[in-house]
Symmetry: C2
Subunit: 199 residues, 2 copies
């Protein structure tokens, strides 16, 4: 940014590259860094590096963890015969927050997206099949996002899993809780109607 | 945040403390850091620390600089007899971007705010008087913000500077360029009317 001294501009540039940080936010953050005590800036810098170094993928479900196996996969009380397949670690986190799920997860780390050149070999599909082959899995819940790529990934996985002795399900798509019919888009409404349940 | 593994939660906490970064943004940024290559995270971390270490205050105007004297104070072509007094370095930057000012600055690093316990000794007022005593200053333009604290600081400075042989002025307050009368608040309109200029 014009008019900024170099060290400040470097900070601005770094913040500008982060997702959701616009020009004004980056400038505000850069000035904030300069205002912070040096010890705090050091703590921020070290925390970022430390996290990057400590965090790896769980060897079972590929969720983020700082151990060999994540807390969920390592929990004896969870139902290891049900695997919920999500696109990203943050999706598993969202699912956990709903407190409605007691099984384990499988993180694909992406979704099929031919336009971006992402095919079945670029996401953790092979690892999911490997878990199936080890046995003991009764149900696979496909919980990819409800957009074009997520739906395509779910459809692909459903087909791929058909020959296996396992129940394959897809999370419900419908009117969000608290949502008004008036403001819902037509595709959501069509899905909500199609998937209506008997009372 | 509940459900986050510790190293990730540490990053989340650090981002959460930055201004304008809410819970969702902090989480998004934390996951982004984990996704970034380690070299890039290292560059980000080092840039923050480097800026913090390199940047100091200009000994003349107290703007941020990586030298003894900032580029503006060190520029022979600027009018050193006019000092524009602003609250923060970012205010001087905004002023510079308007390309309408050729004098030098004085950064107060705050404004009078009795409620927050900030009095005249807590901001760089003494240093401004010291610059006046060195001589050669013809005009002081008070460009503090146009809110309660900024106006109070300007009023205080105006009174303080009265005994000195110097012109004291205040930047105009009025309708912003491109602003509609219809949407302007009443205080702005009253100021715009009061400070009307003859054509």
């Amino acid at each position: 940014m014009a008019g900024l001294i170099k060290p400040l501009n470097n900070v601005y540039d770094q913040f500008r590259r982060l997702p959701g940080v616009g020009s004004k936010s980056a400038l505000r953050l850069a000035y904030h860094i300069i205002d912070m005590p040096e010890a705090e800036v050091r703590r921020l810098a070290e925390t970022l590096l430390q996290a990057k170094q400590d965090i790896r993928f769980c060897r079972e479900c590929f969720n983020l963890t700082d151990r060999e196996v994540c807390d969920i996969c390592g929990d004896e009380k969870r139902d290891h015969s049900t695997i919920c397949v999500v696109e990203q670690p943050q999706d598993a986190l969202a699912m956990e927050r709903s407190h409605g799920y007691t099984g384990v997860y499988h993180i694909l780390h992406g979704c099929l997206s031919p336009l971006d050149g992402i095919g079945p070999d670029d996401i953790r599909i092979r690892e999911l099949l490997f878990r199936l082959e080890k046995g003991g899995v009764k149900e696979i819940i496909l919980a990819t996002n409800s957009n074009v790529e997520g739906e395509a990934t779910a459809a692909y996985l459903a087909q791929l899993l058909r020959p296996h002795q396992v129940i394959v399900s897809r999370i419900a798509r419908g009117l969000p809780m608290g949502g008004d019919l008036e403001y819902a888009d037509e595709v959501t409404l069509a899905k909500a109607l199609e998937n209506r349940t008997r009372l």
